[in-house]
């Protein structure tokens, strides 16, 4: 089966500061992964790990410093608008920021149809819009002529997905789609992704820091830390039996909605985050409970452990490296 999207050694380096003192922050460092058709792939990590930067590079909002992005085996040109030519769409974190508060929401729908030449008449357009709205559980009548402020966050996020579906995309990039939606309404959005995958064969790149929903909805997952990818594989293996110390820490720190399974032990936190970006070697070395000397000097290579990709020196001796 051909890969839908292939990202190879994607890197983005930001240069901050004035002419006198510049620091270079590698927001994304040699990120590589691929997404298959009809698959939900989660890109997870805490804030500042580079997941949003990676998404922006795929969409073309950010220019990669190096690396390639292939769609269906073909390279994407610099000025090519992936959403226009390649059937990739996106939805964003803040449902109220996604739409212009001074315009009615339906305008975006009509404009999308017009710009992509998907409807011949207004009647046809309304029909298409209604169809997509029903797919996300809403109806045209309660949607037409309303401003973003008249909907709830959950509804707006679903409207956002409906808009993305108008162009019948093959890949939907969802950047933290439920982090600003109430816990009680998250499931409805996340279930939608499942539905889209199963019924329409749409792949979803699900970017999140919420591992619980990532576990629930994704097929595969990649964990990122300070720009590096540290572990990648099937969501069952990565989250139920984490190998990388950071993934373990992340997994343990998630507050389970179950009072009988509280946290055990305490955790050490960093005081100054910026320092971690500038380290040589493995970026987690400063906090890792199992750190070794080599960790501070050398970035670990990609290792295949039990079908999961791990970048950690702990496993170098165990299995064959790629």
């Amino acid at each position: 089966m051909e890969e839908l999207l292939q990202v190879d050694r994607l890197t983005k380096i930001f240069s901050l500061g004035s002419m006198i003192s510049r620091i270079r922050i590698t927001a994304a460092d040699n990120v590589s992964f691929s997404i298959r058709p009809a698959e939900i792939f989660a890109l997870a990590g805490e804030s500042g790990c580079g997941k949003t930067t990676t998404a922006r590079m795929i969409l073309g909002f950010e220019e990669p410093t190096s690396g390639t992005i292939l769609y269906r085996g073909q390279k994407i040109a610099r000025n090519e608008k992936v959403w226009f030519t390649r059937g990739i769409q996106a939805i964003f974190q803040d449902p109220f920021g996604t739409f212009n508060p001074l315009r009615t929401v339906d305008r975006y729908f009509f404009e999308t149809l017009r710009n992509y030449k998907l409807a011949g008449s207004t009647k046809e357009a309304v029909g298409l819009i209604d169809q997509k709205l029903r797919a996300v559980g809403l109806a045209y009548d309660e949607f037409s002529g309303k401003y973003p402020g008249e909907f709830s966050g959950g509804q707006l996020q679903r409207i956002s997905i409906a808009r993305a579906l108008l162009t019948n995309p093959t890949l939907l990039i969802a950047d933290e789609p439920v982090s600003m939606v109430d816990a009680s309404l998250r499931m409805s959005i996340v279930n939608l992704f499942k539905q889209l995958k199963e019924e329409l064969g749409v792949s979803v790149l699900y970017i999140t820091h919420d591992l619980a929903t990532a576990y629930y909805v994704s097929d595969r997952i990649a964990i990122m830390f300070r720009g590096h990818m540290v572990e990648m594989g099937s969501v069952e293996k990565v989250l139920m039996d984490p190998k990388h110390p950071y993934t373990r820490l992340l997994r343990e720190s998630i507050p389970e909605a179950d009072p009988t399974r509280c946290w055990r032990g305490t955790v050490r936190l960093t005081d100054i985050e910026q320092e971690e970006y500038l380290k040589q070697g493995c970026r987690f070395a400063g906090r890792c409970p199992m750190v070794m000397d080599i960790c501070k000097q050398q970035v670990p290579a990609d290792l295949n452990v039990d079908g999961v990709l791990v970048r950690c020196h702990l496993y170098t001796s165990q299995v064959d490296s790629r």
């Binding site: 805490e46 804030s47 709830s152 966050g153 959950g154 509804q155 109430d182 816990a183 009680s184 309404l185 998250r186 499931m187 409805s188 279930n191 499942k194 820091h209 591992l211 619980a212 929903t213 576990y215 629930y216 989250l239 139920m240 820490l249 992340l250 997994r251 720190s253 998630i254 507050p255 389970e256 909605a257 179950d258 009072p259 009988t260 509280c262 946290w263 305490t266 955790v267 936190l269 960093t270 005081d271 100054i272 985050e273």
Partner: protein, 328 residues
């Protein structure tokens, strides 16, 4: 249950907005009865826009226009007698805050003065609330306090912007606990923080509560955090408390339909079975439904539910529910 430290009687606080001739009343807190005891962590959970933040503001007496206290009372149990917070004058209220009850608002990192080093903020704080301490003594008190809570003492020499978000949050909480207040109120202290940082903040709160044996009232919509720290939880919906019980019972035997949906919708590791969220959308606080505010979304709603709001009643000695379907 232990002795009461704070209670409310049918507390009502509305936002009254007047814009271009039209008046809009937002019934953020619409008849809330609370009874919070000593030495416990009381969690208030609910969707955004259910009135939790307004409830906290009302509890500390921070009621300013357009927010108005419409009815009910907030009573603090201080040195043997009950004190109605609205009977205090501004100076007494000021002393009440931080010494008796400290309030950590949402986005509390803005509580720290960005142009002062942390040690100066701490010193100012101590000097304005504790008399007779020199600068040096104040600094020592602050240092001891920070170290006892497990935070690195070097941060006192830093400016707020030099610290990470999680550290700032913990410092703010440390500041709130400095004068050993019997009551600490925190509004969404872990929202917008990373998972690992969140764990550190919750750990800190737990440590403080264990050491001082005081009461913490914690508002958050994150049920995972509630499960980890709260002793009792009050579920808030459309400005009212609809269920209140010890944490184990809320998660194990929820009784109110809303709570049931809420608990069912939470994802768990190791279980990929389909879950559903609460149907419908949160109600508008400016135009809440008649009777029980949850009835438009409740699949088991009776006719009675559309007419009359059920009272919050005890179902057993520690579990209260406001629902016509539960109880007699």
């Amino acid at each position: 249950m232990s002795r009461t430290i704070l209670r409310t009687e049918q507390l009502k606080a509305f936002y009254v907005l007047d814009l271009f001739g039209t008046q809009k009343v937002i019934k953020a807190v619409n008849g809330v009865d609370l009874d919070i005891g000593e030495n416990e962590v009381y969690g208030i959970a609910g969707e955004s826009g259910c009135g939790k933040s307004t409830l906290l503001k009302a509890l500390v007496g921070a009621i300013e226009p357009p927010l108005r206290l419409i009815g009910g009372r907030v009573l603090y149990q201080m040195v043997g007698e009950e004190v109605d917070i609205s009977s205090l004058d501004p100076e007494e209220k000021r002393r009440l805050r931080w010494e008796y009850v400290s309030y950590v608002p949402q986005g509390s990192m803005s509580v720290l003065n960005p142009v002062l080093k942390l040690k100066e903020t701490f010193r100012d704080f101590i000097e304005s609330h504790v008399s007779g301490k020199t600068g040096k003594e104040a600094f020592e008190i602050a240092r001891e306090h920070i170290v006892r809570l497990g935070l690195p003492p070097q941060i006192l020499n830093a400016y707020p912007h030099q610290l990470s978000g999680g550290m700032r949050q913990r410092v703010t909480i440390a500041l709130a606990a400095l004068l050993k207040p019997p009551l600490m109120i925190a509004d969404e202290p872990t929202t917008a923080l990373d998972v690992v940082v969140q764990r550190g903040v919750v750990q800190l709160l737990k440590d403080i509560q264990r050491t001082l044996e005081n009461t913490i009232v914690l508002v958050t919509h994150d049920m995972g955090v509630q499960a980890n720290i709260a002793d009792r939880i009050g579920i808030m919906y459309a400005g009212k408390i609809v269920e209140e019980a010890p944490t184990g019972q809320i998660f194990g035997e929820p009784l109110h339909p809303y709570t049931c949906y809420l608990i069912d919708s939470l994802p768990h590791f190791g279980d990929k079975a389909t879950r559903t969220s609460v149907p419908g959308s949160p109600p508008s606080l400016s135009n809440p439904p008649d009777g029980c505010p949850f009835h438009p979304r409740c699949p088991q709603a009776l006719d009675l539910c559309t007419e009359q709001m059920p009272d919050l009643k005890y179902v057993d000695h520690s579990h209260k529910v406001a629902c016509w379907l539960v109880g007699d």
